[in-house]
Amino acid sequence: MIALIQKRQAGKAPETITDEKERGVWSRFLNLMRRSHFPWRWVILAALVSFANTLLSLAFPDYQSKIVDGDFSTITITIGILILLGQAATAGLSDLAKGYARRKLERNVRQTIWGSILRLPVAVISKNTARSLISRTTEDVESASNIVTYIITSVLAVYSLISSTITVSKYHWSLAVINAVLIPIIILVKYFNGKLNFKYSSRIQYQISHTTQQLSETLINIPLVKTFVAENFEIDRGRKGIKNIFQENYNLQKVYYGFNLINSILEVLTKTIAIVYGAYLINTGQMTLGTWIAYFVYATLMHSNASELASIWTGVKSSQGSVNRISGIIENPIEAYQGDTVQEGSGSIEFKHVSFSYGDSEVLKDVSFVIPGGKVTALVGPSGGGKSTILNLIERFYIPSAGEIEYESADINSLDLTQWRNRITYVAQDEKLYAGTLRFNLIQGINRSVSDEEIFTTLKTVDIYDFVMDLDEGLDTEIGERGTRLSGGEKQRIALARAVLKKSDIMLFDEATSFVGVESRDRVETALDEVALGRTCVIASHYMPTVIGADHIIVIDDCRVVDMGVHSDLYTRCALYKRLIDTQSLNETEGGL
């Protein structure tokens, strides 16, 4: 006990911080419920049925005592049996209603969270790992929704404790005194028990997930382990993790059995008092055997109610953590979807003194240029120079930290977001696909019906028709999660086909042909040139033939526009551009021709 108190004091400083966080947690919880269609009717029903169950369990000992004391009248026995059956029925029904309410709530909260995540700015989403966002939408939802059940259970447990204490006080005043002493002790012990269990269980969880991550990484990289003959190193490392899991598990067992000891002593104490003191009361004629049995049942009930009440603490604690984590996501402001109607026009886009930075590192510094409408513009420059960022800013994945991007003399960030994005097709380098058929993937995001003939023509355009036709099920072939059954080049060509089918006014390509093999790259590039005809097209590429053929070339390095113009001018005028073209040719020809 002393050790416990010391531990508590030692941990005081961090606790005040959590208290601070806890203060807002209920309002966060209410806010979450408000946004998620709280299933009132079902929660109320569940509470009422649970209450009926509690009433019945409190009523039974009375009849029990009557029967034991020799009252075998039909009424008493019938009521007694009815109460027992009623308890069974209400227990089942209340579980059912609680289950329905809880699951319904979970589903609704899930919708709220997922809806928010989908509409958050890309910058906010990419600050979180996919894994954490998934666990917000799955585990945390379940843990947060539990709070409703906890509230019902704890209110009923308190009611039951008070009510049974009042009842036993009618049998003999001293029994109420015993209750009043025992209840707080049980609650206190259970409280510490729950708290320590929580602490040690989370340490195990941490250790397991840490070790799992480490071992999985080793297993994934097993060829590396073998090449570097690091078998013994990895075995030792794995054993350390496994030993830590053992240690933490054993620590929890110590806590568990330690408290088990205290709890059992308390339980035996309760029972011994009930038995010994009860026997004394019976034998001195102050109580009948029947009343004593009723008291004994109440005493057992009290013990379980008090334990339940205290153990809810642990549950509420972890639910609160979940609520906080969920709120941390959904309380972020979503993207600005409302805005002005997008005007028709030449389709040219103008960057005016645009700056942008990811966190601390500046990516674009005061950049100005015009992307002419209906033409092909190429962005060139070394990796990390800011080419992708320009495309991301046009797509409004990010908002410039200074300056404006104009379309038909309107700031694009003031336009209706959905309309704006519907006008654009964006193909990224690592475009991942969805589990599903090829056809399903090809028509994603296309708001019109597409005939098979049109799909086939498009597949020929991007030089993947033969590949698709060679598959056993053609367009209906399942391509696996994230399209893993396709190679990088095949995935890129499917993504390109999708873009071609979409036929948008503005097309953005970010290294969109990089994985397409040498055999078909030229053909694909030529096909894209045809598709681009008459559309505003922006291409970030390392592939020099594409760059050379563009109507307009913008050279970007180190966050700035270095130069712009057409190939022939730039090649004579711009040193960096010349170097980019020459290194590629050099790489391709050195030692040879």
């Binding site: 020799g70 996919a130 297993l219 959905t418 050195e590 040879g592």
Partner: protein, 585 residues
Amino acid sequence: MTAITEDSKEMQKKNRKSDNAALISLLKQVNFPYFKYLFAVGLSTVLAMVLLGSLPQMAGDIAGGEIFDRNKVILYVALSIVGIVGLFPANLFLQYMKLDVERRSRDAMWSKFIHLPLGAFEKLQPSTLISRVLRDSTFASTFLTELFNFASVFLIMLVMFFVSLNNSVPLTLIIFPAVIALSILVVFGTRLVYKIQFEIQAKLSRLTAYLSERLSNVKFIKAEAMETFEDDTALKLFNEKFTADFNYSKFGAGLSAVMYTIDALVIGLSLIGGGVLLKSGAMTQAQLLSFLLIATNFPRLCYASLVVLMMLWSYRGGMKVISDINQIPVEQMKKNVPLSMPTGDITLNQVTFGYEENKVLKNISFTIPTGKTTAIVGASGSGKTTILKLLVRFYPLQAGTILFGETNAEEINLDEWRKAFGYVAQNSPLMLGTIEENITYGLDGDYTEAQMIQAAKTANIYDYIASLPQGFKTLVGELGETISTGQRQRIAIARAIIRDPSYLLLDEATSNLDSINEKEVSDALTKAMQGRTTVIVSHNLATVVNADQIIVLDKGAVEEQGSHAELVNSNRLYEKYFKIQFGKN
């Protein structure tokens, strides 16, 4: 017909026998402490018998009128305390042994996995590997501990039964069998729960797969303004999960109703029957009390013991998987011949190999001369990477030999062999941890800082590392997207050359890079190759024109070989590749 059934029975028997043998050999591997365990289980069983059997009996006697027998009351209290306090060390010791055996099982499985040949990994599902190590490996020992557990609970129940019999024969004979029968029903019902839980798991993994796929495509969703569409798609999955979860609630509700009914049965029957017996004088108050105290505990134990029995049954499948894995032979590091010569020509002699039925390499022969550079070119799928994998002896050959000088490579100690090779694979992965840990991976701390810096310099990555605030101590994970593919590859090159290997195997090391990055990596490779026997695989002809020897592969066979000058006008495959790539210039 009969013959067939008898046959399959025979087979089943045989299978069961080999399963049992596997189980016993697994337990032998982890040194299960039978005697200590038996002792601790025995102790805790006896104590539990006292607490659940004798004490209620005494309590009944006390309440029945022996309250003024001071000795009896003292004995009761003393026994309670001894029982409870004694259970604490007994149970803790049991837990310690159980966890310790679990730990050893995991250790054994882990070291088994690390030593498995690469071919064995490809037959196992990658996502299940980790649970094989951490969870399934413990099944054999858990099976045994649960068996002890069942025996213990069974004995306790037996004692409770006899004590109750002593109190009232008719009540015991009616109530105990009824409880057992109902519990068996419940337990059979719980088999349903596996189906429901399986369904929930299936829906959850569908949901998780959906979420992670959409999250990795979030830019596409936004770019195509499909947020509302995805709301609806998600709702369908959320509803599926809801239905599965609610089915579980339904089951739980049914279960709790039945459990309450069992309790009601016990209490109702003992009260009514007990009342009648009391009145007729066939039972005393003390006996009724003792009976009630024991009987109310009985359903819980009965149910628990049946659940244990069911769990024992369910472990069989898991143990089968583990014993199967246990039977796969591991890689042997020590062979007959040490790698004595510092270097030597390596000759592939009619090598044939395939991962499954398809042959990836068909009857390949060529020599990798010492101190020279050999380049392998060919279309994707022609078997280039497989040659490198065979050179580091990841897989056994299906036909032919690899000779080291005059010695068959398979005779040479595997660890020494692999240490002589530096292998930079396609997309060489970096591990979690610092840059230093990555570069010096597998050296077990046996390196100097100067060596590390030298390796980084040779790989053209030293300046980059030095520019980081934490230098070599920078955590790779923290670099996130700020570290480029080229930089990652150069770290992998540094990792390969820090051991100063005599042979260097390079695979597609410059694909997917922009031209400036590509040049830096190429320069690093050129430096690394100096003074080493190198085999380089590439799509990019520009990086292979300088090689001393070029092997052109087509569909798993050597199409032609020679130097660039010899091949470029050969009118064959090499010339064709060359023209595709440089046609425009």
